[in-house]
Amino acid sequence: MASLSEEVLLVVKRVRQRKQDGTLYLMAERIAWGPEGKDRFTVSHLYADIRCQKISPDGKAKIQLQLILHTGESTTFHFSNGSTALKDRDATKELLQQLLPKFKKKANKELEEKNRMLQEDPVLFQLYKDLVVSQVISAEEFWANRLSLNTVEHSLSNNSKQEVGISAAFLADIRPQTDGCNGLRYNLTSDIIESIFRTYPTVKQKYAENVPHNLTEKEFWTRFFQSHYFHRDRISTGQQDIFSECAKQDEKGLKSMVTQGVKNPMVDLLLLEDKTLDEGYGTATVPTTSNSSNKSLRENSNSAIIKRFNHHSAMVLAAGLRKADAPSDQASETSSTDGNSRDSDFFQLPLKKVKLQESIEYDDLQGDSGRKTIALNLKKSDRYSHGPIPLQSQHYTTSQDIINSISIIQHEMRNYKPRLTQVMSSNAASSAITALSPGGLLMQGGGQQTINQLVPTDVQIELKHLYTAAGELLRHFWSCFPVNTPFLEDKVKKCTFALIFTN
């Protein structure tokens, strides 16, 4: 039992698993459970394999803890030690809570990645089965030049994948339910928490500061819902509220947004009025300075609500856009902070011009000139009408060109990946083959229907797999050249062997 020599962090007795009593051990790198009276673990999970833990709600008869693994399996432990069960469970939970993130970080990202790729791409999966499972090449080799090219591609696809925005009503979705005894219950899902964090970064900051050192997660959210921050129509009075700082920061943010002004001069109400009447002129009653003090509490809370809605909408909007234009935002910020008016003047001009132009254009009065097309610019029109002809010898390529193009080709070859799902249809392919084979077009009539019907489907599939496998092998084979290390040489040999073998 080598594993016993590991450092044991926590031992919990009387934990049931599959109706069997046993003991739960939390060790440095894994969690394990052994049935009563036996000295081996029937359950053992590395922390790295655990995706998350779940606990049964408070007040339930059974006190349970469930571990969900990356593979999707789950293991449930039932704490049955009478009076201390709850304490045991919480202790376990707390410890796990601290341990899991550590491992999660280095948790096998790669493995997940591979898994995901195999799941998403059935062809690759087949290839994997054909080559790795049948041990033609090793898994490392299989992944070696695939991952690198895929991470590039992956990040690309990640970018193009649209980030889901935040529902404006996410706070409304947390419907409080009365629990029957003068309390309210809020149901939080991870989506909602995510929304709150993305919309209100200050709350996230508070969370990071306070959980789990000062507060448990539950306490944190309880306070959140009790706070004036959540109920904005209540005027904040208490200072001890941890969210009062958030509110202040929000206010600051709002103010800075306001002072920053708007970029579009057409909606700037401050610039609207050309010549304001001097103070004291006009029929409109002058707003007295003592206005804020003699406002009733209700009016104050009303305007707080209005402010809050504006702020909330702005934040939701910003959260949706934050990813997209973070750098540009930064740029505009820096330019406006040092903005003496001259700078911002220059900065503003083009935008203003564009907006002005936009506002005086009536597209239905204009002619069709509006839709601009790019004119085809033919340098040699005869070449266009006659198609390609052999190059006259007046054009020489320099050696530098050749080297460049070779390196480009090499580069492309390295990244080449057969897109098997996107090749031409079998009909087109077979007609092309017949057209090119002896007899050419004349033979077409006979050849076409045959292939699909003559060969039974399983053979076709087999053939396809063989073809892709061979293609992959060939790719590996060619990617070894130029052979300049003994390892590569070895690989070439192996590939050749495998190729011959498959043939």
């Binding site: 925005g165 529902s167 404006a168 009503a169 706070l171 409304a172 129509d233 306001v258 002004g261 708007v262 970029k263 579009n264 001069p265 057409m266 909606v267 109400l269 610039l271 609207l272 009025e273 050309d274 010549k275 009447l277 001097d278 103070e279 004291g280 002129y281 006009g282 029929t283 409109a284 009653t285 002058v286 007295t288 300075t289 003699n294 009016e299 809370s301 009303n302 305007s303 609500i305 209005i306 402010k307 809605f309 504006n310 909408s313 702005a314 909007l317 949706g320 003496n340 008016s341 001259r342 001009l349 203003k352 011009k353 132009q357 506002s359 005086i360 597209d363 239905d364 009065l365 002619g367």
Partner: protein, 750 residues
């Protein structure tokens, strides 16, 4: 293309033309030596006229309301002139420019960084005032504005090259030459062919005297967006005095006194010189006056007395003593516990009895103070706004015996416990301010998309229009859909009537309407409330009822606040949300800044909802006095005027959503009172025409059905071919005989 309008060649910079535009030009041509009152539906038309006459009329003065409007007009003009030059091949020497306040034109690095217009004005004055510059001669360390100096040295001799100058172009030009763009523009309007600026420069006598005094009589004046022109007139002639004003005035007087005694010791000759000038009744010499921004006399030019300042206020000390007495009198008047309303003659009689102040010296108050401030070389004129205000009040109250009223209120109606006495000196007759404009200029054109009903304008502005015409809109598809929602689904009447506006059911129904609409209307929705307080209350109770939460599921919510900067930000975010497809709702207020100055074209406003009828706050005493005056002088009944006023604001709000014929939008009037003939009849013709009898008293459900139908139809592709020949014409179509007949019907002589 070129058009021939009854013998006049007109260049039109687009390939196609709306029939209305042609009709408008026709009307304009027929009546241009006169005052015209027009009702076109889009603004483009009104700027069409600018190219009809550049060669016949010496000068065109185009007044608009907001800075973006002004800039838009100049851009359109530029387009036209480019086209004109391309067609004729002649580069004509034509000068058009926009004029705005210093805040928008200043290029001085320090001054232009100030945020508020008043600060900019004050700072500018402290660098460019005539005596500052005189001091600079003897003492070079005295800072002056090098841009102005440069302009003053060479700018006047060299005329600005012909072209179209927008505000930014002026600044550019100024930077290149090192000249001050503001003074350059003010100087250049004298010989420019087209001047575009805001109403105030022409209507407010205090400013008009400085800026627009020397404009040629043969000019044509255009007031665009003129539906509110009466209020502009009234505002420019009215004065409010609070206790705070008086306190500040008191310190002003003390400063004056100290300065006078100081000068007396050092430079008595200066005061003697001033006295001598006043005896001779000389107006101050015009040298270097244009940089001095003392507000000019508040009364109209023809009312200013052309005689010497009366002896009792000729010496500086006497005048200050006079002002002090006047001030004490005003203070005494503000110490009251009940509301007082009196006419100007009553006020004069009272002041004569109490403190023996005559009418005549009062009339000279403004002029005399101006002279004194200049003599004393007061640097920061912004500090003296309080005493200037008082002097203006004195001059106004003693000049006009009719058309004004004085109301002294000891406290605000809403807070009867807090003493905050205000003296309102309120102008009730807009015709007073606009009369010199009518009298002076050859032709005046008043035009707007929402002048309705037309006949009330000549009455309240007191002029005889030569032509009045309103234009309908020819549409290939009905791109606007006015609906009047009178009931909720529970059949409870929806109305913002005072008695029921706090009714729970009404508020809920309003909320449901917005909720339903937010689910079916794409992109932007703008909702207008009748007043800010009403909006606050409704928003609060929607929040409590959870209606807003449900709306948030469909769209983001932005709300206008009383703070302009905050609202600007909300507006920009609103547009952003419409732009990126989330869709948003803007809750706003009729008569607010948003409703007056921001357009919600295309997807920025697919639906406008008008919650309630935007009546003005009828309990205000100023309004009551004005209504009374209108009834007695112009035989306009109170209710007629109130309804007219409410409807023009409602039309203004809903009209924000439609810009051209490719645009479309829902217009929802959520109040059963809109269905009545007297309200409906006051909507502009182009809205009325599309208001069918079937859509007068809908429930929310019916509204949703009709809206869905409308939006589905509008979502179909709309091509030029659909419009051509109906609502869009080519040159050939325009010249055909029956089209001309059709066009003749568009304009309806009112």
């Amino acid at each position: 293309f070129r058009l021939n309008i009854e013998g006049l060649l007109v260049y039109f910079p687009y390939d196609y033309i709306y029939p209305e535009q042609y009709s408008y030009m026709l009307e304009l041509k027929r009546t241009l030596d006169a005052k015209v009152c027009y009702n076109p539906f889009i603004k483009l038309i009104s700027s069409c006229m600018q190219y009809a006459y550049p060669l016949e009329v010496t000068k065109l003065v185009y007044c608009s309301r907001t800075v973006p409007e002004i800039e838009k007009v100049v851009e359109e003009l530029r387009k036209l002139m480019d086209y004109y030059a391309k067609q004729t091949g002649v580069k004509n020497d034509f000068l058009a420019l926009a004029l705005s306040s210093r805040k928008n034109l200043c290029i001085h690095p320090e001054v232009s960084s100030l945020r508020f217009g008043k600060e900019v004005d004050g700072k500018c004055h402290s660098l460019t005032a005539s005596y500052i510059r005189a001091q600079h001669h003897s003492n070079p360390s005295q800072p002056v504005c090098q841009f102005f100096e440069e302009f003053d040295a060479v700018g006047r001799q060299v005329p600005i090259p012909p072209g179209i100058y927008n505000l930014d172009d002026l600044k550019d030009f100024g930077r290149r030459k090192g000249w001050c763009p503001y003074f350059l523009a003010r100087y250049a309007i004298l010989h420019a062919n087209i001047v575009v600026y805001s109403y105030h420069y022409l209507l407010d006598p205090k400013i008009a005297d400085l800026v627009s005094k020397e404009l040629a009589k043969k000019s044509v004046v255009v007031f665009d967006e003129a539906h509110n022109i009466d209020n502009v007139c009234i505002d420019s002639m009215s004065v409010n005095i609070t206790r705070r004003t008086l306190d500040r005035c008191q310190t002003n007087v003390e400063t004056l006194q100290n300065t006078i005694s100081r000068i007396k010791e050092t430079d008595a000759a200066k005061l003697r010189e001033e006295y001598r000038r006043l005896v001779e009744g000389l107006k101050e010499a015009n040298v270097a006056r244009e940089t001095d921004i003392y507000l000019s006399n508040p009364v109209l030019p023809d009312e200013i007395l052309q005689e010497a300042v009366p002896g009792s206020i000729r010496t500086a000390e006497h005048f200050v003593g006079f002002i002090k007495r006047f001030l004490e009198y005003l203070k005494a008047r503000l110490r009251i516990h009940h509301v007082v309303q009196e006419s100007a003659p009553q006020f004069l009689k009272d002041i004569y009895e109490k403190v023996c102040i005559d009418r005549k010296p009062l009339r000279f108050c403004a002029e005399r103070l101006r002279s004194l401030l200049r003599t004393l070389e007061i640097a920061d004129i912004a500090d003296f706004s309080a005493i200037t205000l008082i002097s203006h009040f004195a001059t106004l109250v003693s000049t006009y015996s009719k058309g004004f009223t004085i109301i002294i209120e000891p406290f605000e109606d809403r807070t009867p416990t807090i003493a905050n006495p205000v003296l309102h000196f309120s102008c009730m007759d807009p015709s007073i301010a606009i009369k010199p404009v009518f009298g002076r200029f050859q032709s005046v054109i008043i035009t707007s998309g929402t002048l309705s009903p037309l006949d009330i304008y000549p009455r309240i502005l007191d002029f005889r229009p030569v032509t009045m015409a309103s234009f309908t809109m020819t549409l290939a598809r009905t791109c606007l859909c006015p609906l009047i929602v009178g009931r909720g689904n529970d059949q409870v009447a929806m109305t913002s009537k005072f008695e029921t506006r706090e009714d729970f059911a009404v508020i809920r129904n309003y909320g449901n309407l917005l909720l339903e609409m937010s689910a079916i209307v794409p992109d932007g929705i703008v909702a207008f409330f009748t007043s800010y307080i009403y909006m606050e209350n409704i928003v609060a109770s929607w929040y409590e009822q959870g209606i807003l939460e449900n709306i948030q599921r469909n769209k983001l919510i932005f709300i206008e606040t009383q703070d302009a900067a905050e609202t600007s930000m909300a507006l920009e975010k609103y547009q952003e949300a419409c732009e990126n497809g989330r869709g948003a709702i803007l809750l706003s207020v009729a008569r607010g800044k948003v409703s007056e100055g921001i357009d919600f074209v295309h997807h920025f406003g697919r639906a406008v909802i008008m919650f309630g009828v935007p009546y003005v706050y009828t309990q205000s005493r100023i309004l009551k006095a004005r209504l009374e005056y209108l009834r007695d002088q112009f035989q306009i009944r109170e209710n007629d005027f109130l309804t007219f006023d409410a409807m023009r604001h409602a039309a203004q709000c809903v009209g924000r959503a439609i810009r051209g014929k490719t645009d479309y939008g829902l217009m929802i009037f959520a109040d059963k009172r809109y269905a009545r003939a007297d309200k409906r009849g006051k909507l502009p013709r182009w809205i009325q025409e599309h208001l069918t009898d079937g859509s007068l008293n809908l429930t929310i459900d019916e509204t949703v059905q009709l809206s869905k139908h409308f939006l589905r139809q509008m979502a179909q592709p709309f091509r030029r071919e659909d419009q051509l020949g109906l609502s869009l014409l080519t040159l050939e179509q325009l010249q055909s005989e029956d089209m001309l007949q059709k066009i003749a019907q568009i304009a309806q002589q009112a």
